[in-house]
């Protein structure tokens, strides 16, 4: 194997239901591959060290930090980003109705985690304490996000 062959890769993945092929340097982060190589800029990049959760996408149905994945790790996976979530989705509607955002930077990541939690029908308390715990929001103080979660997941949350 030459150096060039191992420093760059063609990555094939299913992105929001569409098969895409991306040629990227192997050190490219998944977040950058999605934003720059594919051009889907709904996924936001915050801290790039796994702390903030802004870049959360679903890989094979599970919410993960896309800044902590290398592009080649997406090969053969199914990735879902915020662009795949319909405006009518109960989570999106609840975030809208309760104004669960202010500047919106962290919102795409939070919504992706909530979409995954909604599929698993997690109890609202677990969503607030555990799932939302993986996201930082510097604007809202989380009050309206928690209200949105209670609405979308039932009223058992606190």
């Amino acid at each position: 194997m030459t150096d060039a062959a191992t420093r760059s890769r063609i990555v094939r993945l299913t992105l929001n239901g569409v098969l895409v092929e991306v040629e990227a340097e192997v050190r490219t982060l998944a977040s950058d591959a999605i934003r720059h190589s594919v051009g889907l800029t709904g996924t936001h990049v915050g801290c790039e060290q796994g702390s903030c959760g802004a870049c959360t996408v679903l890989v094979d149905g599970l919410p993960v930090r896309s800044c902590l994945l290398l592009a080649p790790q997406l090969d053969g996976t199914e990735v879902e980003t915020i662009e795949s979530v319909a405006p009518e989705h109960p989570v999106v509607r609840a975030m809208h109705e309760h104004h669960g955002l202010q500047c919106g930077y962290c919102t795409a990541g939070i919504v992706m985690s909530l979409v995954a939690a909604a599929r698993r029908q997690l109890p609202p308390a677990e969503v607030v304490e555990d799932v939302l715990g993986g996201h930082l929001c510097r604007c809202t103080g989380y009050v309206n996000i928690r209200a949105a979660i209670r609405d979308a997941f039932g009223n058992g949350g606190t």
Binding site: T6, V26, V64, R65, L69, Q73
Partner: protein, 279 residues
């Protein structure tokens, strides 16, 4: 920030991984779930010339329960083990430790083998492994070997693993008593300022291991002896604090960490003795 350039390979077998590591003169990094390694790459605190990704090595994804141990393949994720039907064979404390790790988004990628091999002094799983006297299975050029947890963790981010070896599995002994993992972190999911795994067996013997308070996970020997001698939870907690001398850092003073460790062990013991008596 972005990682510095490296060569990336993703072999499909342990044999191929070892061949790649053996042929490498420079620094090589083994990528499991990447939840510790990729931040280090992004911050350029790690600049390996070769990254060997284990994602396609399917032989590292098994969980097997024997008569004595739960043997967890290195690439089993934290979330998978926490949800595994047999995780309870090692006591409630193991599952609690798994759920203390980061957030769901981290646990979906982070692996058991990665946490053990990374050996963060504040990590939960190394302490559980040390407390239960588990072992780590390594594969290297001469073959496989097993290292007892007590000998595996040698310092902060430092283990008995040689650069040409990889962790292939982690063996947690079965435990039938009561156990719990408790920690204090500034925010839910953060690294613990101090944490404790406490296990009590039917004979009243205790296994206590602490994390975040020393250069590696440590057993609290004096405190364990006090439990056997029917010491009160407060006495045991004080013994924990007295035996520790953590370094000061930006997150907390060493004295505070030692104090917190004692309080956590006291609370854990109270909980275990109460629930044990009720059961």
């Amino acid at each position: 920030m972005k990682p510095a350039p490296f060569v990336y390979i993703d072999p499909v077998s342990v044999k191929e991984v070892l061949a790649a590591l053996g042929a490498q003169d420079g620094e090589a990094a083994v990528l499991a779930g990447g939840q510790s390694l990729v931040p280090l790459l992004n911050l350029r605190l790690a600049r390996p010339s070769l990254v060997v990704d284990l994602r396609r090595v399917t032989e590292l994804r098994d969980v097997t329960l024997s008569h004595t141990h739960l043997v967890v393949g290195a690439m089993v994720t934290t979330a998978q083990l926490a949800a595994h039907p047999q995780v309870g064979a090692c006591g409630a404390g193991l599952r609690e430790a798994l759920l203390h790790i980061g957030h769901p988004q981290i646990r979906n990628r982070g692996t058991v083998g990665g946490s053990i091999a990374h050996a963060d002094p504040a990590a939960e799983l190394p302490a559980v492994l040390v407390a239960l006297d588990g072992w780590v299975e390594l594969a290297g050029p001469p073959g496989r070997r097993e290292v007892a947890a007590a000998d595996f963790f040698t310092g902060p981010f430092d283990t008995a693993r040689r650069p040409d070896e990889i962790v292939t599995a982690v063996a947690f002994p079965r435990f039938t008593g009561s156990s719990t993992t408790i920690e204090l972190a500034p925010r839910h999911g953060d690294f613990a300022l101090a944490g404790a795994f406490v296990a009590l067996d039917a004979d009243g013997d205790a296994r206590i291991a602490l994390f975040g308070v020393a250069e590696r996970p440590v057993r609290a020997g004096e405190a364990e002896r006090l439990v056997r001698a029917c010491g009160t939870a407060s006495e045991v907690g004080e013994a924990v604090t007295a035996a520790l001398s953590p370094a000061d850092d930006v997150h907390a003073s060493g004295r505070y960490r030692a104090h917190v460790a004692g309080v956590l062990v006291r609370r854990a013991l109270d909980t275990l003795r109460t629930t044990g008596a009720a059961a």
